[in-house]
Amino acid sequence: MDWSYVSDHWSQIMERAWQHTILAGVPLVLGLLIALPLGWLAARVRWLKPPLLGGSGLLYTIPSLALFVLMPVVLGTSIIARVNVIVAMTIYTLALLVRTVADALEAVPNAATQAATAMGYAPARRFLAVDLPLATPVIASGLRVAAVSNVSIVSVASLIGVSNLGIYLTSGYDRQYWTEIWVGLVSCILLAIVFDVIIQVVTRLLTPWQKACVA
């Protein structure tokens, strides 16, 4: 392990870490935003559930490298465009979260939603004020899985030439240079942990009533 490599390349590591964060994080937010209404539909409209969940399940089976390579055909972009990765990662996030959101909403206790309706909440307002907050812990657990998964998958994008922390892995392998491999591995794991912790903290802030149970 060559520590001077780390200090010499610190600003580069930070830059790639930021790129990695964007490639993994933006899809996470986009995917969640799209998954919420789709998951709500799947939970709400009985006949829409199989096609929505089945469809997202199908998308999820496509291996990442294959999806990265195929993205230009769909989007008409160049193969090394970052937007390929962003869209592909959004698809994965979405595929994972639609089911989670549907499950989470269905798991909201009936008593709570019916009480809310009885008190006079309009459907949309009830969704935001009652269903969504109560479903948050489960959705958050799905989001954590998606986040960790995204960070790992984004490194694969370095194989098609998109810059991120995965470049340390490919370059380290090409040069048979262990220090770079270690930098790549450790920084990816750290980034995954950072994502995980942030989601947990935000969830904790959004669901203060859970504190009693978690502690």
């Binding site: 291996p63 990442s64 657990s141 098609i160 491999i181």
Partner: protein, 253 residues
């Protein structure tokens, strides 16, 4: 562009020979199947035992935290570590590290599936089974395993997707299989081959998942079908990381 991909896929010349699609498809299946088999032999009994005995459940958590390690890094590290150990004109320098990594990646979902599957068998059913005079082995074979099958299958399907995807990447450390077309296509700017092989990999993953889905339907008792969503919902409601890591919700590459 779609035409080019189609031409590549339908050109008979691309299907034959050692570098042909047929051969690499078989390779891909063989590596994936072998890794899944090894992982299954390790993880299924282990997960069942952990759930059955209630001992060493930290192993499941530990295996799950492997998800944070990028499989690309794992492949490269394993290759650098191991391939120099094999000399001579064999496949072993890239085969061994690849199979090891694929196996390692398949273990967490399989382990979690077997563990949660057995764990979540209705305690009343287990109690009744013992109470009517089943021995430990009979409880396991006749009650726990059949009831654990839905979750074991979702673990297996997760693992299969993971392995097929990572086997594609393993081409970069010299493994054959469909990934070789992607590697070479990207390197040599032969986009038709790279995209064509990507289609094949996607179809392969889809077909494998579909096939396992059919097998699951045949093997799992219909009595578990109606309750399945209910149990899963209960589990999700716990929102434990171990629970969340199940089903199709597994990290992959």
């Amino acid at each position: 562009m779609i035409n080019q991909i189609w031409t590549w896929l339908t050109d008979g010349a691309n299907w034959s020979g050692d570098d042909g699609i047929t051969h690499r498809l078989v390779q891909h299946l063989w590596y994936s199947g072998l890794s899944l088999l090894i992982a299954g032999v390790i993880a299924l009994p282990l997960g069942t035992w952990i759930a059955h005995s209630g001992r060493a459940s930290w192993l499941v958590t530990a295996a799950n935290s492997l998800r944070a390690v990028p499989s690309l890094g794992l492949l490269f590290a394993a290759s650098m570590l191991l391939s120099s150990k094999f000399t001579g004109d064999t496949d072993l320098p890239y085969l061994v590290p690849s199979i090891i990594v694929l196996t390692i990646l398949a273990i967490p979902p399989l382990l979690a599936g077997a563990y949660s599957g057995v764990r979540e068998v209705d305690p009343a059913a287990r109690d009744a089974a013992r109470g009517m005079g089943m021995t430990g082995g009979e409880v396991l074979r006749q009650v726990e395993l059949p009831n654990a099958l839905p979750l074991i299958f979702s673990g297996l399907r997760s693992a299969t997707l993971q392995v097929i995807a990572t086997a594609t990447i393993a081409a970069y450390i010299g493994l054959g299989g469909l990934g070789a077309f992607l590697r070479d296509g990207i390197a040599l700017n032969e986009y038709d081959a790279a995209a064509g092989a990507s289609v094949l990999v996607a179809v392969l993953a889809l077909a494998a998942d579909l096939l396992l889905g059919v097998v699951q339907r045949l093997v799992v008792s219909p009595g578990l079908r109606t309750t399945r969503t209910r149990t899963r919902r209960n589990r999700r409601a716990d929102a434990t990381p171990a629970a969340a890591a199940l089903g199709p919700t597994n990290a992959r590459s």
